[in-house]
């Protein structure tokens, strides 16, 4: 499968994502500059982590107006799988492709550590190979990952089962003390109504090889590969 990894000025997890997809998962992964006219025929799009436009104004606020975002929006509207990781999640929120917003972390600290996530929804292209309730260990690295949704939005997310990942204890139980950044309802990741656009603060691309401490992130990308294989056109029967 062919992944497009979008590169904004200030992205810094673009190469990590490309490496994870190509070397660790054996997929094609092309870096696509934010001023590119198209997504190069990609089957899936990754908006990577980093500090697009220096996080000036608000995280992701300026990147959402990058030319490539028009293509990403069209790709998403056509049902193509899109994943925003960390800053990529912030860009999706600012672009209105996912609901809610980000605040500074509850304790105002930039947090860089491994956390545990509970998979809350497995009917997205990025979680279909995971088991419901499965606990994934992967790193976070952000200062503004304190997800906010107003009560009405939160109710919609819950009713439509659009909360995809929650910060949890290593055994998968939920408790506010494991809610590392103070996010509303311990939300670490969500999806859109159509379920093809997923955003999460943790970094699955940094958890794809045992050498870096965890391989739990692989399931996110393996899910995308499986989802694409499932909807790939079947060879014509003559």
């Amino acid at each position: 499968m062919r992944f497009a990894v979008v590169v904004f000025p200030g992205s810094n997890c673009d190469h990590d994502a490309q490496y994870a997809l190509s070397s660790a998962l054996g997929q094609e992964a092309e870096l696509v500059w934010h001023k590119a006219r198209d997504l190069g025929g990609a089957d899936a799009v990754v908006l990577p982590g980093g500090f697009s436009y220096g996080d000036y104004l608000r995280c992701g606020a300026i990147a959402r107006f990058s030319p490539i975002m028009t293509r990403v929006r069209e790709f998403a509207a056509a049902g193509g799988p899109v994943i925003g990781i960390c800053n990529g999640f912030q860009v999706l929120l600012e672009a209105g492709l996912l609901p809610g917003g980000m605040r500074r972390n509850r304790d105002l600290k930039f947090i860089c550590e491994h956390v545990h996530l509970r998979v809350e929804a497995t009917d997205t292209p990025f979680t279909r190979q995971a088991a419901a309730g499965q606990v994934l260990r992967m790193p976070i690295a952000h200062g503004e990952g304190n997800y906010y949704a107003d009560p009405e939005t939160l109710r919609t997310l819950a009713d439509d089962r659009r909360i995809v990942f929650r910060y949890a204890a290593p055994d998968g139980s939920l408790d506010e003390r494991w809610n590392v950044n103070g996010s509303t309802a311990a939300i670490a990741g969500i999806c859109n109504r159509e379920r093809n656009v997923v955003g999460l603060m943790p970094h699955p691309e940094r958890a794809c090889e045992a050498a870096v401490g965890s391989t739990d992130g692989r399931v996110v990308f393996e899910s995308a590969v499986a989802a694409l294989a499932a909807c790939a056109p079947v060879a014509e029967v003559t």
């Binding site: 600012e94 500074r104 509850r106 304190n146 107003d150």
Partner: protein, 79 residues
Amino acid sequence: MKAKVYVALKPSILDPQGKTITGALHALGYDAVREVRQGKYFELDIDAASVDQARSLAREMADRLLSNPVIESYRVEVG
């Protein structure tokens, strides 16, 4: 024409920076301070034919870019 745009987190949203500043002011002895809310301030120099036009442009810019309506509110002053 000069327009000033003040952006701050909505009152319903916890402002951890404001809270920390409140604590620092209390440590300096300013016990009279009940709460601090921190925000952003923009000065726009706008080429506009009238105050109304400048105001409506500043509002449009605040809606589209300068603020995030999900978590922030803003106020515009012109002139």
